[in-house]
Amino acid sequence: MYINPEETPLVAQKANCFTPGNWSVAVDVYDFVSKNITPYTGDASFLAGASAKTTHLWNLCREALKEERARNGCRNIDPDTISSITSHKPGYIDKDAEVIVGLQTDEVLKRAIKPFGGVKVVENAVKERGMTLNPKVIEIFKYAKNHNDAVFSAYDAEVRNYRSKHIITGLPDNYARGRIIGDYRRLALYGTAKLIDAKKADLAKLSGEMNDHTVRLREEIGAQLIALKDIGTMAATYGFDATVPAKNAVEATQWVYLAYLAAIKEQDGAAMSLGNVSSFLDIYIEQDMKAGVINEEQAQEIIDHFVMKLRMVRHLRPGAYDEIFGGDPTWVTESIGGQFHDGRTKVTKTSFRFLNTLYTLGASPEPNLTVLWSEQLPEGFKKFCAQVSLDTSSLQYENDDLMRETRLSDDYGISCCVSHQAIGKAIQHFGARVNMPKTMLLAINGGREEDHASEVIKGVAALPEGVLDFDTVYASFKQCMVELARVYAKSMYMIHFMHDKYYYEKAQMAFVDTDPRIDVAYGAAGISIIADSLSAIKYAKVTAIRNEQGLAVDFKTEGDYPKFGNDDDRVDALAQEVASFFAAELRKHTPYKNAKPTLSLLTITSNVMYGKNTGSTPDGRKGGEPFAPGANPMHGRDTCGAIASLNSVAKLDYRQAEDGISNTFSIVPKALGANREEQINNLVNLLGGYFSSRAHHLNVNVLDRETLQKAFEHPEQYPQLTIRVSGYAVNFTRLSRAHQQEVITRTFHDAM
């Protein structure tokens, strides 16, 4: 996107003394950050605490959160107003005390309705909360189509069958797909007027002979222009002129938040992530501090008030949604740290300030603070991250060295849990995930579903009686994966085609390059069960126990076999092989908009729900028992300690699963060392060892099982207890009882 350089310099403020560059003549935030960043290699000793205003505001938020918990997780709903960028009047927590302002509705923790994903879902969600959706909304959708209806009008019998049998799960076909990250920094750096100019210039180039692609782009830019105009209008209701660039740290933060706010007023995707804004904002903070306009406490205050808003983000969800995504997550993922290709660190003082909010405001699941870990990160930052993990269990870590090498960008953010996105340059189409163990059971049962005997995949030969033969089962499983990939790819095509048509993300896409690169993010759950099952069949003697219909209801295993999670290549190789095979199958199908197929090994918290819907598996897991989260080894089977377990997961090849490989690590503090200093150093070494083994992601929980047990029994005493689950963090007390139990029984590394 180019803006006419001759007419107007892009940032006209004389007060700003930024180093100019390509960013001055084109929309190029990366260039601005690269040329103006002040990397920080020191320790955390410069940080300030919470200001009086911050504490006052956070107390108000805590009251509101208390009310939300008391009302069973939903404080209030506006059932009358269809949410849009400009739908609601300005909302405040306490206007006079707020340095950064803006709420999704006119009141904190009041949820808005977004019926374009699916009006029926919204109607039910409102009803479940004892309220009534305004009949006008239902009336409107008699004339306007929504995403949900559109997708189902296209689905064929095969997709419906795989979907209803819980083989393909969690599809974004009745709610927003989310995952797309707008480059919200652009609003601060350019203001809406310049961004509108740039988009108009793109539009002007899209002329001549028409085809589907060009017409669609023209329509998309048209929508983006409306969004940019609306964002200017919304900003004005709060008293800001966001048509022009931000002039200082407060404005820059405010502008970035307004851009993000527009996105979350318009869309309610499961994951609405923020990107990598901290070191961008640092440039403005540095400038203000040099000019003597603000001090450290004020710098922290700006970030605190911003982060406080991010903690208050809410979407209206139906009860069934909680089964898949426990704990009401929003995935306001902010990626912090990492390195530039040229060897400089992207860590700034504001990287520290973001992490410091976990002290100034206490532990919290959101925003989903994600550290981009590189061997080259400054030692002081590594140690501070480890310290924050020890104290709050609120951080996740992802391998910056691996992602820079594989995905090439050094200006990227993580969407949701583990999904890479080059900010403003690429987006992703969210594809939820398939249930791999259930697919294996289809293979063992001649293509029939293990619960109801109905045929799902045709032409799968029944296995011979007796002990399961590895080659036969594996061949049959591969046959089923081929079919699964075909149907899965088909469903994704239809979903994203319709989402673009009926629920296009105009606010987010206004901050993304026109016609960006797209990943279609497929997912697979239950990889450790697959590895252990195949290993059991290969190295021990496994016999299926079949009912009168010939369905395997259980398995008898004689002898021992290598289990995933013990750094044993015999079984770890099976996990790698299956992931690669499935990824290769998915790549054979052409996706909507010629997206690039990627795969994640992830479960969110739905490992509990997957387990419920899946019969007994050959690895010895009984029907109904939870899967391990993400790519984790199964509970209690990693018997050689945490590092062997980490090494097994590290062997899963990121290049075969570029949408991410999630691993959750829980350890009692004492098992990390005798005192705090040792614990910090050991955690730094642990992360260093894991990521230098080319592992992708790690959630780190440092807490005692007893603490969780107490919180299970007395939730009211632990309102801020945060734990990491598969790729995100939750308030432990906001998980369902079943999820809480699952987390407590999960493997804790507690070697003494």
Binding site: D567, G641, A642, N675, N685, S692, H749, A751
Partner: protein, 247 residues
């Protein structure tokens, strides 16, 4: 026999050890011990039989697989059971680890002392010496054997000038008498090789194992040490020794 195929009788492996020596460590628990400590939390490692025979090669491979996690100060620790019962094999293992630049550590009760042990100590970067009581009568009551040899072994390590950490398990009514703590600390006060002293408060996590093995547990009714008694032990030790750590 090739040296790498020499085998070690291994009870279990902990790849993320942060309790037995500096940094993150691969801890290999060997099978078999001649002491019979009343509080032993690994009674399943006492028998000289059992465990799994693992080759030196396999153990070195394990260590190499996690070398990236060792950082500046981690490495491999051999614990038990009593590690030095396997001194010949351990010498081969430690030499192999040193060839790969891996730090070696031995967690021992000091009961074995002979030429083979001296050879092993020469390849041991750090000895964790667990002297269980300074009074011989009390030592016998606690462990079934005299403390004469352990003290001699500790003195030998001191004479080599190579680093050592001292360890002491604090058991209420069995090893927490202030006068004996004082004497214990005084005994080692002139040692130059002691880099750190660790007080390990008795815990009950091993209790169930005794019942499972059909062995009589003598510490029923004994509680873990109070905070006050832990602090007192630390204070007494610190009068004579540097870097006392309460674990």
């Amino acid at each position: 026999m090739q040296e790498g195929s020499a085998t070690l009788r291994v009870h279990s492996i902990e790849t993320m050890g942060a309790q037995d020596g500096p940094g993150l460590r691969l801890v290999i628990f060997t099978q078999g011990c001649h002491m019979r400590c009343v509080y032993c939390h690994n009674p399943d490692t006492l028998s000289l039989e059992g465990g799994t025979l693992m080759s030196v090669d396999a153990l070195v491979d394990r260590a190499l697989r996690q070398k990236k996690y060792f950082g500046k100060n981690g490495g491999v620790t051999i614990s038990g059971g009593e590690a030095t019962l396997h001194r010949e094999t351990l010498l081969i293992l430690f030499k192999a680890l040193h060839a790969h630049g891996i730090h070696t550590c031995l967690d021992t009760n000091g009961l074995v002392y002979d030429e083979a042990l001296e050879a092993l100590y020469a390849e041991t970067d750090l000895v964790l010496m667990d002297i269980k009581h300074i009074d011989d009568v009390a030592h016998k009551r606690l462990t079934s054997v005299s403390n004469e040899k352990p003290l001699k072994t500790a003195a030998y390590r001191e004479s080599t000038g190579k680093p050592m950490w001292l360890r002491y398990v604090l058991v209420p009514g069995w090893s927490d008498e202030p006068e004996h703590l004082e004497a214990w600390a005084q005994h080692f006060s002139s040692y130059k090789t002691v880099e750190r002293v660790e007080i390990l408060p008795y815990h009950k996590l091993g209790m169930n194992k005794w019942a499972e093995l059909g062995m009589e547990y003598k510490l029923h009714g004994v509680d873990t040490p109070t905070q006050a008694s832990r602090q007192l032990a630390k204070e007494i030790f610190s009068r004579h020794l540097n870097n006392v750590v309460l674990k």
